[in-house]
Symmetry: C2
Subunit: 142 residues, 2 copies
DNA sequence: TAATACATTATATTTATTCTAAACTGTTGA
DNA sequence: TCAACAGTTTAGAATAAATATAATGTATTA
C-alpha cells in the first residue's frame, strides 16, 4: 500500500475525510521509518517549514485528538506547560532527557517485566509505564 | 518538635518566613500521618473549608514552588490540564486510577528494581518512576 | 519610631488548549 | 448541471492553569 493510501486509510478509520491538510499532518507524523515524539508547537513548525499549505491550529488539534482516540498516537504529559505526543503506540517506556527536554524510546524488551506486589481491591492494572530521567554523565569524580 | 515548629522549620529552610498563611498551607500539607496527592484547586478548596483565613492563589503557588525547590514536595504532571503534587518525596511509584482521577502510592519495596538494558552514551539515569494505570476489575468474563 | 525587607493580595498577563461560527469544499442525487 | 447537504477549515474568541506585577500590608531591625 502506497503512503498516501495508508494515510487515507488511517484518516478514514479515525472518522475523518482525507483532506490535504490532514494528509500533510499524516506525512509529517507517519511518513518515516522512525517513530518520534513532538509537541503541538513543534509539529506546527515542521508543517510550516515543509509545506506550501497552511494548516490552522484547530485542524492540528482536532486531527491529533482523532488519532489519539483511534489509537494512532499517544499523549504523554511530562510537563505541566505542554503535552508531548508519541507516534510509537506500542507498549514501551521512555528516557526523558531533562537537559534537552527530549523523550527517547525504550523498547519493552529492554526493560524486565515490572513486578508490582501491591494490589488495589476491585482494580486491575491496565498498563505500566516506566520513565527514567537522564542527565549528563560528568564522570568528574575519579 | 511540635507541629507548628516543624512547619516553621520547613518554611525557614525553604527561605520563607513563617506567616499565618504559609503555616495554614503547611497544616494542610504536612499535619497528617498520611502523605497525599493534590491539585492546586483541591488544596485551595481544603484551605477555604478548614480555615478562617483566606489565602490568595499567588501565595499558594509561591509556597508550593518554594517547597518543590527545597524538596518538600514533588510535582507530578499526569494530566495535560493540571499538575498533581505529592507530599511523599521519597523515591516511590504510583497507581493512577483513571476512573477516579486519583494517585495511589506504591512503595519502592513493592516494585522490584527496574532493570533497563538500554543506555544513552554520555548520560546517566537520575531517577526511575513507574506509573501503573488501573481501572475497575469487572470480572464479568467467567 | 523610622527605615528596611519581606509578604500578601487583587489583578493582569501569558500561553496551551478548546470552542465557535462563518466561509469553504467536495459529494450526491434530482 | 447544479442545488442541497455534510463535512472541513479557519480566524478569532473563550477558557483555565500558571506566572508576573505592583500596590498595600506586616514584621524586623536599627
Ligand atoms: Mn515529577
Ligand atoms: Mn494550560
Ligand atoms: Zn515513545
Ligand atoms: Zn506519591
Amino acid at each position: 500500500m502506497a503512503y498516501a493510501e495508508q494515510f487515507i486509510d488511517k484518516l478514514r478509520k479515525s472518522g475523518l475525510r482525507p483532506t490535504k491538510q490532514r494528509i500533510k499532518i499524516c506525512e509529517v507524523l507517519f511518513d518515516t521509518d522512525k517513530t518520534f515524539h513532538f509537541t503541538i508547537k513543534e509539529l506546527v513548525k515542521i508543517i510550516e517549514n515543509q509545506a506550501n499549505i497552511k494548516v490552522s491550529l484547530a485542524t492540528v488539534y482536532n486531527t491529533i485528538h482523532a488519532f489519539i482516540k483511534k489509537g494512532y498516537l499517544k499523549e504523554i504529559p511530562l510537563n505541566a506547560s505542554q503535552s508531548y505526543y508519541d507516534t510509537n503506540v506500542t507498549h514501551h517506556h521512555h528516557f526523558f532527557d531533562e537537559e534537552e527536554n527530549r523523550l527517547i524510546d525504550i523498547h519493552q524488551d529492554d526493560v524486565d517485566e515490572v513486578n508490582i506486589k501491591k494490589t488495589i481491591p476491585g482494580k486491575k492494572i491496565k498498563s505500566v509505564e516506566v520513565i527514567a530521567k537522564i542527565v549528563s554523565d560528568n564522570q568528574s569524580q575519579k
